[in-house]
Symmetry: D2
Subunit: 337 residues, 4 copies
């Protein structure tokens, strides 16, 4: 931690800052420069908020220097983490595909979905039973019935199951049916939910919020890790910008950035990242080319009649094509699918 | 609802769109223009997602026309809503000040806070008992003990109490102590929480998420209203942009926009909106000049030693000054404080 | 300037950074902390780009500390600058209104405009003769003929003239007709234009670019000031964000921020800032309440038939109303109109 | 063009809108629906600004339907455009690499650069002679001397030359030395410059502005095309968002979007797109995987001593590695390098 004093800061101002830092538990090192006095501190950095010091008299600026997260940091596990769920490893050499419809709608729909996503090479089936919808008037999901149908279909086709948990009271129920708990973008800073999924023995896929910085994503992961659950998978799914042609702007650069800053696996969701079916294939290729550990894809046997997110759901044959393309790109970057 | 077909769309494509709309329950009116065929539909607009139709063959673009929210719309209550809590009316002629520290820290701190905010003219005391913090290593709040201290201090000084509820399991507890439930920016799309606060008999202050559009804010209000709770107060508290000098960019224009689109009261939180103590006064004045129904202000008897958000907390004398300035501005726009 | 070395940085790495700084002309002060070694430097800060050092081996982070601008800085003229043009002072106690149509369209139109804006209390007439339009197919302005009409109408009504200069070759022509040269938002980083307007003896109003940070705005002002032209007026006119209800998001907080960081006058343009006629009044009030030195307003005698920007142009009677409201708000903040 | 009237709009309001449209030259088709009356118009769409109509009495909303650009539209040349410069084709099967230092600094530097970029497989050398710098105190480029050195070095190694033109007065000079004129991001809406480069017989590479929508990029291309110069190449180079880890956020999805909307070649600049050397390789791979027609790469023989943008410049060996990786990715998407 560094505090830079203004030119002409008085000794009283400097002493006051030093005293405050010492009271917080910092060991302070003072360096008196020609223009600025700089105070360096070693101590409880987690409690240091630069903004608190920047408004003090005589202070020019402050910097934290150390990352505010620890367990999510690459330095915590320099070799990276591979999350093992059943016989699937996320974060290893193999690029993983998790695919399925936006929502579970019926037994027939989910059974067909399981069949063709398994056949095309996906290892995990995704679908929502509880749906976060902007409008209260939109379809809200089938609930537990949906989970049952999903589990059954997945089992028949040797797939794992991932589905979104929307609040902490749903965790026990969800854990009966799914292999991976998904925390959605809108809940990335629902800290009570993060704390609770940090206590269970299930892998958690944490999506980046649409306006979350990469640092905030890693801090949210830190909430889960600090509860003792080390099986955390991150996922880029598009951020909100001024561009409206795509629903969100998929921040592909977040993939190599997260891989450098953290040891956690990093996936990509080009379906939500773009919101447009015709952009899913190029963006899935881009994500894998940039180093993603896997992709999350929305696909429906009949997207024109999907109850939600039909516009971004692939047709089955498009998903097959996507898997073929990813095999080629994965090979190009020294991985398999 | 309007679907505009592409130039040269085939009859089969047009029929297919019409069929799909009719199946959804729409009455469709076809208008064959020189270049484009346009389909207008009247029906269950809440279930109509333009994106679903824009990817259909032969479709150029789609528009919803009707707002996706109803109960939050100005047309639902053209004269506007005044939320009455105790003897305080929010949304009436009087501009309301809700003020207090970021977090309850101790009995002494909250007692002092209540004393000076009441004296300066605030009618509601704000403070957090459960704190949403980006980092799991930051101070997380005093919990129920904090609520008790806050209630007692508020009662002693004739103040109402507002505090943030972070998840639906906390609602019964919160309701014992507070007069207004606050749903924070990070929870603006925690739909399960919105549904539950929609069922209680307590006013709810709903903050705009840092990346939420005004339409999304109103849709989230719709969740609460549709549960039967009509005592909803909205609040602008800054959005996330590229500018980093202020913590967020306070969208003052959202105030007149919301006042036009909706009947709900609209407040402003310049403390979070700017993140900097020295910008709170000018932005509070600006908010009232633009038509805000009230302000939410962080103030601390000793901001330099606050456990959270000290940088944006006013000193007591600054809060007094703010109240004096707001009185003048309120008068200038034909209101009182 | 500060360079913080990584934990465990080698002596060779530290020496290499020191050598590079010394070669650039810095005097370097080394401080060896328990965890991090910190290098402080005094020297040619204008040429120091933190990004260049942050990629060096062993470096953790870098900070500039000093503002990259000097002449635009408040410390250069602590008492603030008043730009005098004719008998009008911008940046003094009086809040200035510059008003007029988006474009000069005809003699009749500009004559009517001059008449009613002067009558309502504006002191400067604005109108475009050369128009920056997103599409090459849109109306591009009347050119020199427009300038002539504007000058004549302004003179008849005792108004000053401001108009936009789009490239440096137009400067001599513009200087014959206008009192204040406007550099538009799209040209805020047209550095060749900035250099040239820095050499003339005319006041310059520099608008913030729609994606420019406040620091970049001040750096662009620095280009003009460093050419010797100290009569620079800044103007907030809305930034681009994800919100689409308003054309831009007017960053009212930029007003007090610029007033603190710089000595230059700061105006506000709520017409472009919102893009909607019905939001111009509340946002003009907000701007003045937040400390703006003046407002730039688009107004047309017949907005429904304006050749450009009709949607954001006030009707004459609305402009009168705006001036009356600003008088009240200005008084509330201790100023006049 | 469509105008949707409000529920309950009067006949007088409807007639007034129709009259205005007819006066503008539109043929209007009226469709009276159960709730809304819709007016469809065929006519001079380039002059139709939806915002102008949305503020009229009785109007609910307006839509343009047709793209505001024509010559840049994919429908203008469905098979796409290949820009031929010397023996290089941009927009064909081969993925093109344009590489070189940020600025020309000296004869030795540019000669070394030409040598190694040619050897590694680049076909065009990039370098700046006139530099747009945020601060007037930064290195501003070598000017014409730089152009001469660049031309000579490029010729010796069989490379084409691209360099940035900053204003229209520089065009004749630039044309003596370069093969492709670059219009930088800050000048994307310098319309006078666009008009002038539209008149010359040189290919133009137009970079997307950091806050420009894709539609605005295509409209700026339209300016050049409408001047008669059809050799326009577009380039994504990062947009400004709230994320600060990377200097900009590279919008990879803009690549497939532009390829669909327009016939023009689309390149990618991961050096400016990320601002960080260590992210250039993954993002270049991602861009090619997403369909980019080429990449623009900053590379320096000694980035640690570069006069500008050293932080994002590759070391020569990194550039070789990049070219090898692009060969593999290009093959994976059916192209060559």
């Amino acid at each position: 931690m560094l505090v830079v004093m203004q030119e002409g800061a008085t000794e009283a101002q400097i002493d006051s800052v030093i005293e405050r830092l010492v009271n917080m538990g910092f060991t302070v090192h003072r360096s008196t420069g020609a223009v600025h006095t700089v105070l360096g501190g070693v101590g409880p950095i987690d409690r240091f908020d630069p903004a608190d010091f920047e408004v003090l008299d005589g202070v020019k600026e402050c910097h934290r220097i150390m990352s505010p997260y620890k367990l999510a940091s690459r330095s915590f596990r320099p070799d990276g983490t591979t999350v093992k769920v059943g016989n699937v490893e996320i974060g290893g050499n193999r690029v993983i595909a998790m695919a399925g419809p936006c929502s579970v709608e019926s037994e027939d729909q989910i059974e067909r979905s399981a069949e063709f996503v398994a056949k095309a090479g996906a290892t995990v089936m995704r679908a929502g039973a509880f749906k976060p919808r902007s409008s209260p008037w939109s379809f809200q999901g089938m609930g537990e019935d949906g989970l049952k149908l999903m589990r059954r279909a997945a089992d028949r086709h040797g797939l794992l199951v991932i589905s979104e948990v929307m609040n902490q009271t749903q965790i026990p129920l969800m854990c009966e049916y799914v292999d991976i708990l998904q925390v959605g973008a809108r809940n990335m800073q629902n800290f009570d939910l993060l704390k609770e999924v940090g206590k269970v023995k299930k892998a958690v896929l944490l999506k980046r919020g649409i306006s979350a910085t990469i640092e905030e994503l890693l801090l949210s992961a830190e909430y889960i890790l600090s509860g003792g659950n080390m099986d955390v998978i991150l996922c880029e799914r598009g951020i909100r910008t001024f561009e409206t042609y795509t629903r969100n702007t998929m921040d592909i650069s977040a993939i190599p950035v997260v891989k450098k800053l953290s040891h956690l696996p990093m996936m990509a969701d080009p379906s939500h990242g773009t919101g447009r079916r015709d952009k899913v294939l190029p963006m899935a290729r881009a994500a894998v080319a940039a180093g993603a550990d896997g992709v999350l894809i929305e696909v429906h046997h009949d997207p024109d009649h999907a109850l939600s997110d039909g516009a971004q759901s692939l047709y089955p044959q498009q998903f097959e094509e996507l898997m073929q393309q990813l095999r080629i790109i994965a090979t190009a970057v020294g991985r398999t699918v």
